[in-house]
């Protein structure tokens, strides 16, 4: 299938939206406006955007502690996201969740998750629900390289395999789990090799090539929709920032980070768009401007939004009133 100009430009716009949203989040965290733990996705945008561009709105994704990108890629509104990061009442989760816990069920976003590996079984459960009800929806679970050392990953992929569940396991391999290099905690060369232990196909793609991620996802999603079961897709990438805001990042050399930035998925698509004649410089600049405007408006919305009421801390524990 030929990829359309429209799709390409939308992928570019989403990646830029994530990048700019996070650049401002970084500043707002430093300024004390955004509290808590903030894990930036910068550098890995090609994965979330490539994958989510191959999904329908009623397909579901499960996310991680590094979840801003997944949320935006699946259509999340940066206004409600920013308000959530501020802890305001108008945020996606009324201020109860914050950066590590954002969900929007209407858009198929099952939620970010502070527990490494914690959301993999949940996405598998979404796929079980689809199969149980005979729909052709699919679920995607995003997780890091580090998460593939959790039992929850191994148990879930086995469940999905034996039941042919329509779930795609997308591993974002940025080679590190916090300060820990993947090579010190894993003996396999490729994470995709782990799939063979469960009788599931495993694929490795360049996560910084959004088009490759998109095309791979189209294929494996098609397979899942036809009832042929899960796939493990390893997307190789790297993060531009520290593990979280406040990380000194001493476990990587400056050169490694510089080299990573050179492989930026956004720059790569931007060059492709112009060189292949898909769009002019002007078109790209217009997108950049619109993205900035959207994020600035989101910040203004967050700033002006009210704080939650203290008594709201006791709501939402149960469906029935709190006791």
């Amino acid at each position: 299938m030929e990829i359309t100009k429209e799709t390409l430009l939308e992928m570019y716009r989403k990646m830029q939206l994530i990048r700019y949203f996070e650049a401002r989040t970084k500043e707002l965290f430093a300024a004390g406006k955004v509290p808590g733990f903030v894990h930036l996705y910068s550098g890995e945008e090609g994965i979330a955007v490539g994958v989510c561009s191959a999904l329908r709105q009623n397909d579901y994704i499960g996310s991680t502690h590094r979840g801003h990108g997944h949320c935006i890629a699946k259509g999340g509104d940066v206004k409600y996201m920013m308000a959530e990061l501020y802890g305001k009442e108008t945020g996606y989760c009324k201020g109860k969740g914050g950066s590590m816990h954002i969900a929007d069920f209407d858009l198929g976003i099952l939620g970010a998750c502070g527990i490494v590996g914690g959301s993999i079984p949940l996405s598998t459960g979404a796929a079980l629900h689809f199969k149980y009800n005979g729909t052709d929806q699919v679920a995607v679970t995003f997780f890091g390289d580090g998460a593939t050392n959790q039992g929850s990953f191994h148990e879930s992929i086995n469940l999905a395999a034996i039941w042919d569940l329509p779930v795609i396991f997308v591993c974002e391999n940025n080679k590190y789990a916090e300060s820990t290099s993947i090579s010190s905690v894993m003996k396999v060369e490729k994470i995709s090799e782990r799939a063979s232990g469960y009788g599931v196909p495993g694929i490795t793609v360049d996560g910084n090539d959004v088009i490759a991620v998109y095309e791979t996802t189209l294929e494996v999603v098609e397979r899942a929709r036809k009832g042929k079961g899960p796939t493990l897709v390893e997307c190789v990438t790297c993060r531009h920032q520290g593990h979280y805001e406040g990380d000194s990042g001493t476990y990587r050399t400056k050169e490694m980070v510089e080299e990573c930035k050179k492989r930026c998925p956004i720059k790569r698509l931007c060059t492709f768009l112009q060189e292949e004649g898909f769009s002019s410089k002007k078109e790209i600049e217009d997108i950049d401007k619109s993205v900035e405007k959207e994020v600035e408006a989101a910040i203004e919305f967050a700033e002006k939004s009210p704080w939650p009421k203290p008594e709201d801390a006791l709501t939402d524990v149960f469906v029935s009133p709190y006791y």
Binding site: G95, K96, I115, E178, S179, P308, A313
Partner: protein, 328 residues
């Protein structure tokens, strides 16, 4: 005894360094221990001194490495395992509930499990529902765990050394808001026995039992209450298993009034346990109902406004003490 002021995190590091120098069987295991020296830096320098053999960086596999700690302990190692946040205890749930603390009993007392788990507890920095809990009461509820909640660098060091030498599983809880606080710690070696409360402030009017970060909030509240003429006695149990019932009861016998300040969820929390013990064993000494100041039984919310609303603060402590003090 000569002392100097050090950080809580340095007290932890010193305790481990001394114990590792003293005893070859002590080793460290957990995520990001080598380069980071654990996320808040408690272990910095230990890998450099003790090397790869005694400082193990693990994959993110809590079931695996917590259980491996218990298994090695059974054979005579003394692993000090780091569980990055107490919220993660459920991931290693089987090892923490069914294995480590039950082995000795199930096998008729034929073995011991000298395992220490160091973990981080507490709210205070908007870390939200997966990184803010103080659910040590769940640990205390399980048969087989000892549980330590230090509030000062002095207590942190002495109790951690005792934990390492103890022959039973010990859950050692470091409050994230205390890790960077300072306090006086002796130059000389010392240990602090488990089950001995520390009276952080003497007072004749109301006994306030507090743990961890709450000790500090209670001491601030004490200043305000003192201005009103209410002198509280602040009792810090330091270990909740074993619990120093005697010191708590003796204090209540003196004051006749008890407030418990506990950051754990109210329902079935350690505050409920202390309240039950005092009403069973010192009922006739009480001149007022016992009051608890706790975190409601809700996940810890993210927004600072909501977090402040649920975590006990000085205002709530002052109010509770006033009520108990004025009860006639």
């Amino acid at each position: 005894m000569s002392t100097r002021e050090i950080l809580f995190l340095e007290a932890i590091r010193e305790a481990l360094r001394e114990e590792m120098r003293r005893d070859e069987s002590v080793f460290l295991m957990g995520e990001d221990l080598r380069i980071w020296g654990s996320p808040m830096g408690q272990l910095q320098g230990l890998w450099e001194e003790f090397g790869d053999r005694r400082v193990l960086d693990t994959p993110i596999s809590e079931t695996g490495f917590v259980g491996a700690g218990a298994g090695a302990a059974v054979l005579g190692s003394r692993p000090v395992v780091e569980l990055m946040f107490i919220d993660f205890f459920g991931i290693a749930g089987d090892q923490i509930y069914n294995q480590a603390p039950k082995l000795r009993y199930m096998f008729g007392g034929r073995m011991k499990v000298p395992l220490v788990i160091r973990t981080v507890i507490g709210a205070g920095n908007s870390a939200a529902a997966h990184h803010s809990a103080s659910v040590y009461s769940i640990i205390a509820h399980m048969p087989g765990w000892k549980c330590v909640i230090p509030s000062t660098p002095y207590d942190a060091k002495g109790l951690l050394k005792t934990a390492v030498r103890d022959d039973d599983p010990v859950m050692y809880c470091e409050h994230k808001m205390l890790v960077n606080t300072k306090g006086e710690v002796p130059e000389e070696e010392y240990t602090i026995p488990f089950g001995e409360a520390s009276i952080k402030r003497e007072g004749a009017d109301v006994t306030v039992v507090a743990l961890g970060w709450m000790v500090h909030k209670t001491l601030k509240a004490a200043e305000e209450l003192s201005k009103e003429g209410i002198e509280i006695e602040v009792v810090d149990p330091r270990t909740i298993v074993p619990l120093d019932r005697e010191t708590i009861i003796n204090s209540v016998k003196k004051t006749g009034r008890l407030v418990i300040v506990d950051e754990d969820h109210e329902r079935c929390g350690i505050g409920s346990e202390i309240s039950a013990i005092v009403s069973e064993e010192a009922f006739r000494s009480l001149s007022a109902p016992i009051k608890r100041v706790t975190t409601p039984t809700v996940p810890i919310p993210f927004s600072p406004v909501l977090e402040n609303a649920v975590i006990p603060n000085e205002e709530r402590i002052v109010k509770a003490v006033r009520e108990v003090a004025s009860f006639a």
